[in-house]
């Protein structure tokens, strides 16, 4: 191959080549121009619009205090979502696991919530469980609801739990929607009623709490005077029958006195107040002492039998001392009998024999058995039942999901609890205290359905329309309306459900200050 000579090179390259603009020069200039223009435009945009593109958007108002403190969450350049790149480049400061740990620690500093059955997850899902921002992605604007988790987000795992579990899932493996086919009916309805109180809702819903063909209905006048205003309906006299409705016993938590309005408190009425004997039963079912004179004080509920004995003896002795009761050898008569006259008024014996006391106690015990089973009225059982989580009437029946009574307050109770009503109004089987009288998922999905689905015809019939009282007929089907992801701190959710459902409910409510919007305008 011949070597190029100098002449040849001078002929090929113009001597002023460096003065001439080539395409490359033009391209470079164009790039510079574009760059400058872009920079100026961006500067103008930032200057005029007041926006910062250092982040993807303003953080939610609840975190606004950290707006300018990025390092609270951002440790390095690693995306804090586990859905981002899994690439780990230590030299460049990209380390997903470290970042997730950091963000979890940062969140837990304030939000001390538990995990989501992490011990049953494989490594990949455990990382996702720790990545708070996976679900609670911020920088979505001030008004963004960090707790609004889409159904799809949950389904991303629950479509096939087995793929992320180290063992066989203990719950339904696949949940991809909210209806009987894709979600299944509420598991809590398929088990025996966890309540241990013998109770007949239908009977209590009848006027006077007796069947229509029965007599002896309870009247306002039979209530203690202080309780009469509470149960007296408009226009009722003392001789009128006590007529109860659901709210007579099932009061919204923190509800105002009239029970018809709610103050602006997201927690108000989320749960129904637990049934308490003194508040909800004693007016009609007061535990009268053995000798129930006009001045007797009812026995306290759920106290030890020694306390009951003491009060029984005190009551008997007091009644005798005041001449309110007859003693055993009292032969006195109001009308004289031939021969014996007015008889002999025995001197009151204030003492109460052990035998009498035992008899009096057993008369009380027999009353207890009206509502309780035998195992529930021992001292030990009573002490147990008064400890949190062991109540004889659970504070929640739907043990896997939450239900917000306040959000549904305008809907007639019988929409979901029809079985609790007198049987002539119910189409179902006779009700009793041995079954949970809550309608299944079918009662929910008419409203809580996908946006794409039309309004079911069943919602439009007159009876149902009356029950829902003109409420919107569409509501979100987000999982988080009913379910909470996090368990109370330091516990697995399953454990919490089994041990203390009321705690779970309370803590969940605390951790998630306000529920997602359930009824968007359409």
């Amino acid at each position: 191959m011949a070597t190029e000579t100098g002449k040849e090179r001078s002929q090929r390259i113009q001597i002023d080549y460096y003065r001439r603009r080539t395409d490359l020069h033009r391209f470079r200039s164009l790039c510079v121009a574009i760059g400058l223009f872009g920079a100026l435009a961006y500067a103008a945009y930032v200057a005029l619009a007041g926006r910062s593109h250092a982040s993807t958007g303003p953080i939610a108002s609840v975190h606004a205090a950290f707006e300018n403190d990025c390092q609270q969450c951002h440790r390095d350049l690693t995306p804090i979502s586990s859905r981002g790149s899994k690439l780990s480049i230590g030299l460049l400061g990209i380390a997903p696991e470290t970042t997730v740990e950091h963000i979890e620690t940062a969140c837990q500093a304030c939000h001390q919530v538990g995990d989501h059955h992490r011990d049953t997850m494989n490594t990949e899902w455990q990382l996702a469980d720790r990545a708070c921002a996976d679900c609670h992605a911020d920088h979505q604007g001030r008004d963004h609801d960090l707790t609004a988790i889409s159904l799809q987000r949950c389904v991303s795992c629950h479509a096939d739990l087995a793929s992320g579990c180290v063992g066989t899932p203990s719950v339904r493996n696949s949940v991809v929607g909210f209806d009987k086919a894709t979600h299944g009916d509420f598991a809590s309805l398929n088990i025996e009623d966890p309540g241990r109180i013998k109770f007949d809702h239908a009977q209590h819903m009848m006027p006077g709490q007796v069947d229509t063909d029965n007599r002896g209905g309870f009247t306002i006048g039979q209530l203690p005077p202080l309780d009469r205003p509470r149960y007296r309906r408009e226009g009722q006299e003392d001789d009128d029958l006590v007529t109860l409705d659901c709210s007579s016993c099932h009061e919204m938590s923190g509800a105002p006195a009239d029970g018809k309005t709610l103050i602006a408190d997201g927690e108000l009425g989320r749960y129904i107040q637990p049934i308490a004997f003194d508040r909800h039963c004693a007016a009609c079912h007061s535990l009268n002492p053995d000798v129930a004179t006009e001045f007797s004080t009812p026995l306290p509920h759920a106290v030890t039998w020694d306390q009951v004995d003491l009060l029984l003896a005190a009551n008997r002795s007091g009644a005798q001392a005041l001449g309110l009761t007859r003693s055993a050898r009292d032969d006195s008569q109001s009308t004289p009998l031939p021969g014996v006259g007015l008889g002999r008024k025995s001197v009151a014996d204030a003492s109460m024999s052990q035998e009498d006391l035992a008899a009096a106690r057993q008369r009380v015990q027999v009353k207890c058995l009206q509502c309780h089973d035998q195992d529930s009225i021992t001292d030990e059982a009573i002490a147990r039942s008064t400890s949190p989580g062991n109540e004889l009437i659970p504070s929640r029946w739907l043990r896997h999901g939450l239900y917000d009574h306040a959000a549904h307050r305008k809907i007639d109770c019988r929409y979901c609890h029809r079985a609790a009503y007198p049987r002539d109004e119910a189409s179902g089987a006779p009700n009793d205290h041995e079954r949970v009288m809550i309608a299944g998922i079918d009662s929910c999905i008419w409203c809580h359905r996908s946006e794409e689905l039309p309004t079911p015809l069943a919602l439009t019939d007159a009876v149902t329309a009356r029950l829902i009282d003109g409420q919107p007929t569409w509501a979100s089907d987000q999982c988080t309306l009913c379910h909470r992801y996090h368990t109370p701190h330091g516990r697995s959710q399953r454990h919490a459900e089994e041990v203390n459902m009321s705690d779970l409910a309370a803590e969940s409510a605390t951790n998630f200050a306000s529920p997602p919007t359930t009824e968007p305008s359409r």
Binding site: T335, P338, G339, V366, K367, P430
Partner: protein, 510 residues
């Protein structure tokens, strides 16, 4: 377990009264345990004493709602069982069985065979079983089911609005406590006695009286009045009791005699079939005071009566005790002046084989009589007239002679007492009746076994040993005359005046 609500309530209330009765079942419960509470009807077993049924605070709501509370606080029946363990009862039982003092089994055997049939709500099985007595029976006393019948078959029914009318008491086991005859028949099972009702023997016989038990002198009107009311006294059924006291007394006494005659018949039958089953003659069938008299010469040596016979101050039949005198005096079976009847029925001659059918006939006859008396409609005027005639009749009897004995005097007093009540019920004679009733309070004191005390000090002394028929006659006649004159002076309408001639000065013995 699924039931209709009403059924559940009832089942729950299982044994309305059984539930209540359960208080005190068997042995003492361990502290905090209810293992012996629920023995008969699990899982629903509720007392009739619950607040919504019959155990509300006294005075609150209708009477039925606190009937158990009233019973427990005021009714002597509630304590009837516990009396069996107190010293007075111990003395009686130990007299019946000497070994009872030291042997609880013997003591309980006496209670089972002689006492608990009336003092508790015992069943035949309770009375027959061997071993220690169920302490629950004693604690419960005479409870709801004793008078109202076993609730098992009517517990649900009695809640219904159509649970009305006399058919309720047919075949359901519920006893009629609403009609006069029904209530009287319920009471007399114990307060007179029976050897067949409810399958138990309730025979308060001479042995028991001798051991110290008070003799039975039941009077429906007074006992009913003394019983704390655990029912609505304004109810329709109660009007039968309030309409005419004389009718209640007459029907009650007829039913007393029915029960007494039936008991005598049953005793005779039982004695004929097994001499050890029932002693014969049964002295409690006779007037106690015919035999139990003072043996002092001072009291025996009295001046002869106008008929030439010499009688004790009690003026009883001198060796011919009157058969069931408390029930027969003043009735059609008055036998005091019928020496032949007294001889035939006297204890040493009475033949159980003859007494059994005769007593049955008497029972049937007086049951008819009671029924007829109840069926007879009485206007207010007729009731008033009957009351006035009753006063006149007693006055006439007293004018003719002093009462034969304390029993007859007591019956005369009771008749006047009932007449006074009926007179008070009429607006026209209300004042007349009230003044008579007030005056009779003085006469009642003359009848007391210890008339000097405000209240009989020693209830063991159930004897009219100091009763003086002549003094009774004088005082009562004087009272009636004063009363009659006083009312006339008060300007009472002569049309309604009870015109009784003033014969006190002429008739009274000097």
């Amino acid at each position: 377990m699924k039931h209709e609500p009403s059924v559940r309530i009832v089942l729950g209330c299982v044994l309305l009264c059984h539930g209540f009765a359960a208080s005190g079942q068997s042995q003492e419960p361990p502290n905090g345990s209810a293992t012996d509470v629920e023995t008969r009807a699990a899982p629903w077993r509720i007392s009739c004493a619950t607040t919504t049924c019959h155990g509300a605070i006294e005075g609150r709501g209708p009477a039925w709602n606190h009937s158990v509370s009233t019973w427990l606080a005021h009714d002597p029946h509630a304590h009837a069982g516990r009396l069996l363990r107190d010293p007075d009862s111990r003395r009686i039982v130990e007299r019946l069985a000497v070994n009872a003092a030291n042997d609880l089994k013997v003591y309980d055997h006496v209670l089972k065979t002689r006492c608990i049939s009336c003092h508790t709500s015992a069943t035949a099985k309770d009375c027959q079983s061997s071993g220690a007595i169920d302490s629950g029976l004693v604690r419960r006393g005479v409870h709801c089911e004793s008078c109202h019948g076993e609730a098992e078959n009517w517990l649900e029914l009695h809640l219904r609005t159509d649970w009305t009318g006399p058919q309720r008491f047919v075949s359901t086991g519920m006893r009629d406590t609403e009609s006069i005859i029904g209530r009287a028949s319920t009471c007399v099972r114990c307060h007179v006695g029976s050897r067949s009702e409810d399958g138990v023997i309730r025979d308060m016989n001479h042995d028991l009286i001798a051991a110290g038990h008070p003799a039975l002198r039941f009077d429906l009107l007074l006992y009913n009045e003394n019983l704390p009311k655990h029912w609505d006294v304004q109810s329709k059924s109660e009007r039968g009791f309030s309409r005419s006291a004389l009718r209640v007394r007459q029907v009650g006494r007829a039913i007393n005699l029915v029960a007494a005659a039936s008991l005598a018949s049953e005793r005779a039958d039982d004695h004929l079939s097994d001499r050890s089953a029932a002693p014969w003659p049964e002295f409690s069938d006779y007037d106690c005071f015919a035999c139990h008299q003072s043996l002092s010469m001072r009291e025996y040596l009295l001046p002869p009566r106008s008929d030439g016979t010499r009688k004790t101050p009690l003026h009883v039949s001198d060796g011919l005790p009157v058969w069931n005198s408390w029930h027969t005096v003043g009735n059609e079976l008055e036998m005091r002046e019928n020496r032949r009847a007294l001889e035939v029925l006297s204890p040493h001659r009475s033949d159980p084989a003859k007494i059994a059918p005769l007593a049955k006939q008497i029972a049937e006859r007086f049951l008819r009589k009671a029924t007829e008396r109840m069926a007879a409609a009485e206007s207010d005027a007729a009731i008033r007239k009957t009351a006035e005639r009753t006063v006149q009749a007693v006055q006439r009897d007293l004018q003719a002679s002093a009462p034969h004995d304390w029993q007859q005097a007591a019956i005369q007093y009771l008749d006047l007492d009932a007449a006074a009540r009926d007179l008070q019920r009429s607006q026209e004679t209300e004042r007349l009746g009230r003044s008579l009733a007030q005056s009779l309070a003085r006469i009642e004191r003359l009848l007391r076994f210890d008339s000097h005390d405000e209240v009989a000090a020693d209830m063991q002394r159930q004897s009219p040993a100091h009763f003086d028929p002549s003094a009774f006659r004088v005082n009562l006649l004087r009272l009636l005359n004063e009363w009659n004159r006083g009312e006339l002076r008060a300007g009472r309408d002569d049309e309604h005046a009870t015109t009784i001639p003033d014969s006190s000065s002429a008739a009274l013995p000097r």
